[in-house]
């Protein structure tokens, strides 16, 4: 018999929490972005677990789409980060006053 689904769900919850705390704690924009990837992976793990539990391929299809959206998100997000850093070297997420016109 394979591992019970609740173990996977617990692991995914821990992974999601670590990612969320990372976004709250870190200042480096790149590392915050990586923490968002952690949270996406936790959601993917949940999707696959429920796909197995409920005997439905739809969960794996959802993970497929999450992967595509994550790739697009990384491309655009890193483009924005590069543009910001080109403007102001060493910018952190604590520089919102830069947004004043």
């Amino acid at each position: 018999m394979t591992i019970d689904g609740s173990w996977y769900l617990t692991l995914a919850a821990m992974l999601f929490t670590i990612g969320a705390v990372g976004v709250l704690v870190r200042r480096n924009v790149l590392v915050m972005f990586m923490c968002i990837e952690l949270m996406l992976n936790a959601a993917n793990l949940t999707f696959v677990t429920f796909s197995r539990e409920l005997n439905d391929i739809g969960g794996q299809v959802a993970v497929f789409f999450v992967l595509v959206v994550a790739a697009a998100e990384v491309v655009v997000g890193l483009g924005i980060i590069v543009a910001i850093f080109r403007r102001k070297v060493g910018a952190t997420a604590d520089d919102p006053h830069e947004l004043r016109g």
């Binding site: 793990l45 697009a72 655009v76 924005i80």
Partner: protein, 206 residues
């Protein structure tokens, strides 16, 4: 939940799960606590690999392969590329509060999220009814099932993701492009259009 369950789980399954779970959690902690962004990116590879192992364990072989190829192969390399482009020498004191009590609030919120997700995730009321269509135990391979679902039931969302990818590529080009006055001055607002750009590359042209 561990006691009676352990007797029924086969040892290789259990060992694989435990090792992969340790890799996932360790990598995630490395991402959050690593001072150097490069170390954080490498820890992210560790986590993604662990999640791929768990995917194999849950009979999602195609997704495991895609996870390695797309995430660990493409996305993390993109991260590393940007880190190298921006500069790797800046480190951050992770455990220094930027605001008073920031880590306290973040930890409290994290515990709240963990408790809520655990309650929602492990409760039996979330599971709903088992599917009768798209059943996983048909005599088809995982890839065949996934392909059949994507290209029949989910065909429209699949087409929309292609549009999304095109939009992302165009956006990346527009964001990364340096503004050059000689090729039509009214190319629209760019991140560093105008005369007060920090570096003088506009004059030389690229």
């Amino acid at each position: 939940m561990a006691g009676p369950l352990l007797a029924t789980v086969s040892l290789p399954d259990l060992a694989t799960f435990l090792v992969a779970a340790a890799i996932v959690i360790g990598g995630a902690l490395g991402v959050v606590l690593g001072r150097n962004p490069v170390h954080a990116a490498l820890s992210l590879v560790l986590t993604l690999f662990g999640v791929a192992v768990l995917f194999v364990e849950e009979n999602a072989q195609f997704l495991a392969a895609v996870q390695i190829i797309v995430y660990a192969g493409a996305i993390v390399v993109l991260f590393l590329f940007v880190i190298m482009l921006i500069g790797v020498d800046r480190q951050e004191r992770v455990l220094a509060d930027q605001f008073r009590g920031q880590h306290l609030v973040a930890g409290g919120l994290g515990l709240l999220v963990l408790a809520e997700v655990l309650l929602l995730g492990t409760g039996h009321w979330t599971t709903g009814a088992r599917a009768t269509t798209g059943a996983l135990n048909r005599p088809l391979s995982n890839v065949a099932q996934l392909g059949r679902a994507i290209f029949t039931t989910y065909l429209l969302p699949f087409e929309i993701t292609s549009a999304l990818l095109v939009v992302a590529v165009v956006a990346a080009v527009a964001l990364a492009r340096r503004f050059d006055r000689r090729f039509g001055g009214d190319a629209g607002p760019t991140p560093e259009g105008g005369a007060h750009a920090p570096d003088g590359d506009e004059a030389t042209g690229r």
